[in-house]
């Protein structure tokens, strides 16, 4: 196909993941009371970044 879908999708999740990680580090931690005290932005952001990076790596290979 002309445009490899893994590139835009990978880039999107890497960007959103990084944004969440940043927000998880910098944002007010009081808001995590609702998510059982877990900094869900930080951890899930890392998961999303890793997924995005994996897609980008697969597309480059």
């Amino acid at each position: 196909m002309q445009l490899d879908i893994r590139k835009p999708v990978g880039l999107f999740f890497a960007l959103v993941g990084l944004l969440l990680v940043l927000w998880g580090v910098l944002g007010d931690h009081a808001m995590y009371a609702r998510s059982a005290g877990i900094n869900i932005n930080l951890w899930w952001g890392l998961v999303m970044t890793a997924f995005g990076a994996l897609l980008l790596w697969l597309a480059r290979r």
Binding site: M1, P8, L20, I40
Partner: protein, 568 residues
């Protein structure tokens, strides 16, 4: 629901990518094959994810969570027997005809196999139905965004329509497919944390089971009624759905499920865009793997929600109540999102929901513009024209389809009953479809006259059955009984399943009998269209097992049986 800058940024980024993908694809859309069929160049895994995603509209997601709260684990029947077997059948037995016949749409296959009138009937009803369902999902989205974010109904609808319009006119089916892949991952990443946090909250699987036992007892059912899928199907009185195993297996598992997954152009179009016969056959099977796991993503939140609601700790999670005092199950997902997710993840979850609204709409629009251009415009309005002309018509049809959907959405705000009635009529039209395809593909004697009359008679049978029966606790009217009353069903779902069974049987028997009485087409015209007159597609020697459709289908079915046994 209060959104922060981070949430708006994530949402904005999503829209930018959606439009960006459409823009990047624009220069590849040179012929109608590119625009309507993605140039038949989509890899199997992309076609597979789009196949599943096209069905994963927001109403499906929110509706399944609502059913999870209302009926518990039994809802997974809509996936495990109501989808997977039909998807495997489509892949192994039907895809060779759809893909191999070089038909460009499902109605066009009917034209090749039967005749012009059968195609015409299917094309026109399908086109109307896709426009209407996209309008209804637009309407639901407008209401939801108004409720959650305070956006005005008009702004939501116009904005969403404009975005879908831009990316489909630019990138055609490929644009829709790529955005469906993006949406698929958005749903997974947006909802999975919700499920994990919710499960943690109710005390894991055992805590959930204990809670569901309380829910079941409080409704007067056996303790396992919400956490077992088969054990309570002996009699309609034993389970909250009010159905018994035969109606479930035949009505949902056979007629409705095969009728939808094997004949609906909306999903089949994704597999038909694959880059080879092998990829087209594998696409529904690749889709089956996430499909069988979706209950954990979309039904489980509903089950968690009802347990939390039942425990009713003050300040804890509670489902909203409607004006008439009943629980508003439809808002389960949005309520869970705002209960568990902090700003940041909330943006991801909400964008996932918005994405599934838009992808659902885009799916309908791409199926509509293809059927309109090939099966209505080219068939009846202008037969011989340059390819560029049809490409132009396809883009105009996209605009027209979206405009008609918007009109339907606005109509729904005023006349809710008309929408319910139209959906009912379309359900009657769809019910007999699978009988026609089954006989057409596997019995070379089936004739065009028989197929056409079978469809009409099946639709009439569905209407008659609905008109003569009524679910318990309803009054005659839109729920049935408008022709008189011969039978009461324990629930609306049981009535639906049996309407489908009657329609299918009527269509099957009448198509069979009329075929015997009419003259069949010569066999030479049916090569590649009927099972016994088509060379078997041979998988190249040395292909690994995961590239062989038949083997893959067996794996899919075995895993589905295992899931059913675990949650029996």
């Amino acid at each position: 629901m209060k959104l922060g800058l981070i949430d708006w940024t994530i949402m904005g980024l999503y829209f930018a990518f959606v439009l960006g993908i459409g823009f990047a694809l624009r220069r590849y859309m040179k012929t109608t094959t590119d625009f309507f069929q993605s140039g038949r160049a989509i890899p199997a895994w992309v076609a597979g994810l789009a196949f599943i995603s096209a069905n994963l509209g927001a109403q499906e997601v929110m509706g399944m969570a609502a059913s999870g709260a209302k009926y518990g684990v039994m809802t997974s029947h809509f996936y495990w027997i109501g989808a997977i077997p039909a998807m495997a059948f489509l892949a192994v037995f039907m895809m060779p005809f759809y893909y191999g016949s070089r038909a460009r749409s499902v109605p066009e296959y009917l034209k090749l196999r039967f005749d012009e009138k059968t195609r015409g009937l299917n094309a026109v009803t399908f086109a109307l139905m896709t426009v209407l369902s996209s309008g209804i999902s637009m309407y639901a989205m407008g209401l939801l965004l108004n409720l959650l974010l305070g956006w005005s109904f008009d702004v939501s609808i116009w904005l969403c329509a404009l975005i879908v319009l831009l990316y489909i006119t630019m990138g055609g089916l490929t644009s829709a497919i790529y955005n469906e892949v993006l949406q698929f991952f958005m749903i997974v990443f947006g909802f999975l944390p919700l499920v994990l946090l919710g499960l943690h909250d109710v005390g894991g699987w055992s805590g959930l089971q204990a809670g569901l036992a309380m829910v079941a007892s409080s409704h007067g059912y056996a303790p396992g009624a919400w956490s077992q899928s088969w054990a309570h199907l002996g009699s309609p009185a034993d389970n909250p759905m009010g159905v018994e195993w035969f109606g479930m297996a035949m009505g949902l598992g056979f007629v409705l499920s095969f009728g939808y997954w094997c004949t609906d152009f909306l999903t089949v179009q994704r597999a038909m865009a694959a880059n080879s016969m092998s990829a087209a056959r594998r696409a529904p099977l690749i889709a089956a793997f996430p499909k069988m796991l979706f209950p954990f993503l979309v039904i489980l939140p509903g089950m968690i929600a009802i347990v939390l609601h039942q425990r009713a700790v003050s300040g804890g999670f509670a489902l909203p109540v409607k004006a008439d005092g009943s629980l508003n199950y439809d808002l389960t997902i949005p309520m869970m999102l705002s209960h568990y997710l902090p700003q940041g993840m909330l943006g991801v979850g909400l964008t996932a929901l918005l994405a599934s609204f838009m992808a659902g709409m885009a799916g309908n629009v791409t199926a509509f513009n293809t059927v309109f251009t090939y099966d209505i415009y080219q068939a009846y309005i202008r037969r011989e024209a340059a390819d560029a002309h049809y490409l132009w018509v396809g883009r105009v049809a996209t605009v027209g389809g979206i405009a008609a959907s918007m009109a339907a959405a606005y109509l729904a705000t005023r006349f809710n009953n008309i929408m319910d009635m139209l959906q009912l009529v379309f359900a009657f039209v769809n019910a007999p479809l699978f009988a026609t395809f089954l006989l057409g593909m596997f019995w070379k004697r089936t004739t065009g006259h028989a197929a056409f009359s079978g469809l009409i008679l099946g639709t009439l049978a569905a209407a008659a059955h609905h008109g003569l029966t009524l679910p318990a606790g309803s009054v005659s009217g839109i729920k049935g009984g408008w022709l008189g009353l011969v039978h009461h069903y324990p629930s609306e779902m049981a009535q639906n399943f049996w309407t489908a069974i009657w329609a299918w049987s009527t269509s099957f028997i009448s198509t069979l009998l009329i075929s015997l009485a009419t003259r069949p087409r010569p066999e030479s015209e049916l090569r590649g269209l009927v099972y016994s007159l088509t060379e078997r597609t041979v998988v190249a020697a040395g292909e690994p097992w995961w590239r062989r459709p038949a083997v893959l289908a067996c794996v899919v079915l075995a895993l589905t049986v295992a899931l059913n046994l675990v949650f029996r």
